[in-house]
Subunit: 288 residues, 2 copies
């Protein structure tokens, strides 16, 4: 499509009160949980990879109706974003990634909805305000603590301080990589986060200290594997898959929170697995 | 190129101690200058557009030699980055954009050098550290105050607080746009910044207050035009070109600091000018 052609298409979409945002997926390698009464202050420290596979969210004026890959679904963080922005709209999400398996699909849907509503309904919010709305919605719904701020940033985010933009602080690992992933099943983020997170958070804080001292991708992978072990979140299937990748000379760890293995380069396929390949994503969430 | 093919190419470049970074161009619409003794604290408030046209910087081990589009050149911010990172290297920059005309080419070269040196020589800096090194180098060289932090972020950055990551604060306008530009000549950033900047900074602070209250692209263009007028930086040629774009129903302003006009959409070509077209860039500076 030519630049002018796509410009015309965008213009015509605006006239229909419709807009689309793309939000990269995000696998967290390790984290510590930092609850707070105010969901804008609450969040997590940690680090992860944003992915070129992500979620495309289209918002259009009309009765409230949320679909994911064509299926009507309940998605409390999206409902909370629509409430916060005081709008009724149809939200259609198309995801490259499975939901509930540690790719930040709920965070992506919340953030994509906020960005697309702002454009479709001429709402005049700044980026930080939209990120704050989506982060609050995700935290209040209990579906995530750090995906939204990472997905808004792109790259390989290190979450130094928890919370929405006014409170949180981010750095990053200055590189890019091919990433392979394989989902074996889902884990409930709500269940893990509502349980005792002391052990998990202690392991996450240790991992962050090590990564800040040496912010490289290989250090991140070492930290992520150690965190998965120390936090007691490894399932047998995930553990043996990671071991197979290591055996084949690669680097893999577990996506927090899902029964999902991610690997650098061709780690999973070298170990004989049928994995999906993408790259780390250079940009944060953006209007299309 | 396939993902695996480009992966192999990157690997082989690493073995040669070579790396390449892409840094988007950046046109500032308005700004206020905030000098300080520490160049990490100094900087500017303001807002601008990062551009998909930018600078590709390749760093390779060897004697120090800086080239821009094949020509050996003096580039003090790049020299300062090499000094700060204690490295001798060849720096080859290929730019889509003319130097000295308000596109942030010097900032792009400084930041691209920092990112590429880190990768080529396995230096283990974080992204914020690399941005700080490049920002300090640019400020100390007197060639810019806010381009580096904007170019590291991408999008349409609003610089709320001046300075490198530990001090500065950014927000953004959550949209994308086609941009046209036309360079009529150069202005010396060093000359303008070393003169009396009180009037300019007062106009920049007013513009920022208005944009923060309504962070949209059309408000940005209105603020940028008013700033150019109030700061007394308009040249006759720039003023008449902007007037022609307005006459033809478009929106244009002046790039700070260069004798350059930028317009949204097809503003310049609709007014009959032979302009170059690109888009706002969604990502910040990144390793290739």
């Amino acid at each position: 499509m030519t630049a002018e052609g796509s410009e015309r298409e965008r213009e015509s979409a605006r006239r229909r009160d419709e807009a689309t945002a793309f939000v990269p997926g995000h696998v967290t390698g390790f984290f510590s949980a930092h609850p707070a009464d105010d969901p804008a202050v609450a969040g997590s420290r940690g680090a992860g990879l944003t992915l070129s596979d992500g979620v495309r969210v289209t918002v259009e004026s009309g009765d409230r109706r949320i679909t994911l890959d064509g299926e009507v679904c309940e998605m409390p963080p999206v409902t909370r974003v629509l409430d916060a922005m005081d709008v009724d709209a149809q939200v259609r999400a198309e995801s490259d990634l499975p939901v509930g398996t540690g790719f930040g699909v709920s965070g992506a849907m919340a953030l994509g909805t906020a960005i697309a509503v702002n454009a479709a309904f001429d709402r005049d919010y700044s980026e930080n305000s939209l990120i704050t709305i989506a982060h609050r919605a995700e935290v209040a719904a209990g579906t995530g603590l750090g995906d939204v701020v990472a997905q808004a940033r792109g790259g390989i985010p290190i979450r130094l301080e928890p919370g929405a933009p006014a409170y949180g602080e981010l750095d990053g690992i200055p590189t890019t990589a091919r990433v392979e992933y394989l989902s074996l099943g889902s884990l409930s983020t709500e269940e893990v986060l509502s349980g005792d997170t002391d052990r998990l958070s202690a392991a996450g804080e240790d991992a962050l200290s090590r990564l800040v001292a040496r912010p490289t991708l290989s250090q991140f992978m070492v930290d992520a594997r150690r965190f998965a072990r120390e936090a007691g979140l490894l399932t047998d299937r995930v553990e043996s898959t990671i071991a197979d990748v290591t055996e084949a000379g690669g680097e893999a760890s577990m996506a927090m929170l899902g029964e999902t293995v991610f690997a650098l380069g061709t780690g999973l396929s070298n170990a004989g697995y049928e994995a999906t390949a993408c790259r780390t994503h250079t940009a944060g969430a953006t209007l299309e």
